[in-house]
Symmetry: C2
Subunit: 122 residues, 2 copies
Amino acid sequence: MSIARTFWETLEARDWEAFGAVVIDDVVAWWPQSRERVRGREALVRFMAEFPGDWHLRVERDHVDSTGAATLIAFTSGGETVSGATFFELASDGRISGFTEFWPEPYEPPAGREHLVDRVPA
Amino acid sequence: MSIARTFWETLEARDWEAFGAVVIDDVVAWWPQSRERVRGREALVRFMAEFPGDWHLRVERDHVDSTGAATLIAFTSGGETVSGATFFELASDGRISGFTEFWPEPYEPPAGREHLVDRVPA
């Protein structure tokens, strides 16, 4: 199993010891949209363990190569499902040294491209 | 060069013939945030060629494996730079058969996690 998938599966399992083991001590998590950063395994495990709600996640895409990894997850909480896009950096031992994560929100399409685009009903 | 990087570099070059050659005839582009879909090479090339503004892009992450690819790009237009996260499906001949793309926007962090998080100035 890829390290990125193990990251998500141990998180979904709330297996904090196994989750902590997939990241390096000095892991850095970065959410550019809110400009929030979490540094270090202990803070990251607490961040995830304290995350509110009865949430669940499912890995939809998982691409790993020698330079890192990217995943797309479906994250469900309170009956709502949203997408999360995560780009991982890997340490030389294969563990996760950092990640950059995005939580895109719906927006209205700009005008002027209706002739090329279908809008799919929700 | 990876097929995903070629996709972006031919787009940046406005080399529509080369851009069209990296996707299959029936390529499907999907933007879940606006629920917009573009079907087919011709429509996709027109969509990109008609995209307004003097835009430029740079590939920041590029991960490809046997099941597909993911990229993170920095897209600049009108002096503003935003991030785009794209997940590509590949046809058996290696060309791009589809992609799902996200354009995340800034948001304010939720309360309650200040004890674990640094906020990085813009």
